[in-house]
């Protein structure tokens, strides 16, 4: 069932000192969705979040919240709350006062404040921490307080700006699942900014891949991974072999000095394209069976598979993930199935 659209960003553009940070962004966010803005640093994802929160104003375009234009609303009027990258907890207040801040501003009754703060502390598993000072908390605990502080206002949308960036790997994994749990339990919309593709793939309902201020692809994690729309997305999500190539005809591609059958059609004859092949989609076979051959340069054991780098005579090199292992300097045969060849229109970058 399609849920209703809660936030609409409509042709948003923004620049800083002649630098275009966001270029004509249009994005719909549905109710209860866990949406992730994914991209390298400087791609504009944080600016998008700041425009949603009301800290920045777009130069062009509007932001709609439940069909109301909120483009010019100040942050404190929006039913949107933010979890900041470095938490931005108030250092002169203790845990309780930090979480209670929003309710105190609304002049909620003291007794209700206490109850709701305690509920929030329970939600983030920090009951009993109410009188602690902020600098006595670990990074992970500060993170949870920041989330509790933002959630206590019962926002309809929670914005999270790389909230786990400062945590170590193990803690990050724990917090990922905890955040997901909280989101499902409270049933609110999360808009999550990260540059970590694994984090995006694990947590999101929808991923928005961004680069240079434009949206590259919007889709479910599976779609983004399996059907990247262009070379940038393919390269950014997971490991990829990206090669220049051309389409000889429908279903026939040419790259790395060889012709390969593929499943793509609709390109003009000899159109230059980007060819993307995932390293795990390349099969290692004997030299006789291979569609082409390459010489292994390095082999790294990665646990479940071996990662190999192999070079062809004419200089093309391949990254291969395989359960088979070949010694360096040996020649191996490689096969790529028609399904595994992703043909993409070239992007100018």
């Amino acid at each position: 069932m399609e849920k209703k659209v809660l936030i609409k960003m409509d042709h948003i553009s923004k620049s800083f000192e002649n630098n275009k940070i966001l270029n004509d962004i249009t994005l719909h966010v549905r109710k209860n969705e866990f949406l992730t803005l994914l991209g390298p640093s400087g791609c504009g994802k944080t600016t998008m979040l700041r425009i949603l929160a009301g800290f920045e104003q777009a130069e062009q375009g509007s932001v709609f919240f439940a069909d109301t234009d909120i483009s010019l609303w100040p942050p404190y009027k929006r039913k949107i709350n933010t979890v900041f990258q470095k938490y931005a907890l108030f250092p002169h207040m203790n845990v309780f006062e930090n979480i209670a801040f929003g309710l105190k501003i609304q002049k909620v009754h003291q007794k209700e404040i206490t109850n709701r703060v305690m509920d929030m502390l329970a939600l983030v598993n920090l009951s009993g921490f109410e009188h602690r000072s902020i600098d006595s908390l670990s990074g992970g605990q500060q993170q949870r307080i920041a989330i509790a502080r933002a959630l206590i206002n019962e926002p309809e949308v929670l914005l999270l700006d790389e909230p786990l960036g400062a945590l170590d790997l193990k803690l990050r994994r724990e917090m990922q699942s905890e955040l997901k749990k909280i989101q499902m339990r409270l049933g609110i919309t999360f808009i999550y900014v990260t540059h970590d593709q694994e984090e995006a793939l694990t947590m999101s309902d929808t991923i928005v891949v961004m680069n240079n201020g434009t949206i590259q692809q919007i889709g479910r994690p599976e779609d983004i991974y399996n059907e990247p729309k262009n070379a940038f997305v393919a390269d950014f999500i997971g490991d990829s072999n990206i090669l220049p190539g051309r389409m000889i005809a429908d279903y026939r591609s040419f790259f790395a000095g060889h012709e390969f059958p593929c499943v793509d059609s609709g390109f003009s004859i000899n159109e230059m394209v980007d060819i993307v092949v995932r390293p795990e989609d390349i099969q290692v076979v004997s030299t006789a069976q291979g569609m082409f051959t390459a010489v292994v340069q390095t082999v790294t054991f990665k646990g479940v598979y071996y990662e190999m780098a192999a070079t062809m005579d004419d200089g093309y090199s391949w990254l291969i993930h395989s359960t088979k292992m070949a010694m360096p300097q040996t020649e191996i045969g490689l096969c790529i199935g028609p399904d595994e060849i992703h043909v993409m229109k070239q992007v100018q970058s």
Binding site: F55, N81, F84, K86, A88, H92, F101, Q106
Partner: protein, 271 residues
Amino acid sequence: MGKKWLTYPYHIWMALFTVIPLALIVFFAFTSPTGEFTLTAMQRVVDPIYLGVFWHSIYLAGLSTILCFLIGYPMAMILVGTKLKYRSMLVLMIVIPMWMNFLLRTYAWMTLLERKGLINIILTSLHLPVVNILYTDYAVVLGMVYNFLPFMILPIYSVLMKMDKNLIEAAEDLGASRWQAFIKITFPLSLPGVYAGILMVFMPAVTTFVISRLLGGGQYTLIGNLIEEQFLAVGDWNFGSALSVFMLVLILLSLGFMSRYEKENEGGMFF
């Protein structure tokens, strides 16, 4: 590095030029001109006449400090809010006046404030009533505010600059209006700068004898003038020392009160 002897020269330096000179003041404060122990000088200090002088000094310095705060805080905020391009220039412009001799600048105020001075010429040409504040407490307060205002603006500015801007955004995000965010977040977090500013304005103001001598006229004696007179005119070192000791005790008490807010910035306000 085990060269402990390297610390001795500085120990000796401080003993000679910090500890012993102060000890001498204390010594003179508790002795008679012939060198015997006595409390006479200290008793004279608490005479109502002299307590009145103390009170007058504290009152004028306190008033100047409050004015510096009220004028300086908004200025510091304006400086923080200006574009990066102009900011360092504007901050520098706060410091530049201090490069002209402090006595001369104070003297220039005499020219401005005189009965037929520049300010009154302008006022008259605008058909406004003239002001005659030279040689009054008002002129002294004006001189204090003028001379020490940069010492209030700069530490507040530097604390505000260092403050994480996300904190204010977080407050606004949680529903605080600009004013509420200022009252609940910005201002409390800028207090270390305010305390540093108060210290750096109040201390020189309460002990000055130059500003009061130039702008205040003879009848408005401050504690600084009293001490100066004892040493250079009257020649009563014992009473002068006793006054100094009493003043130091008052200052130390107020310092102790403020020191708990000063723990974090170890003199960082200067550099």
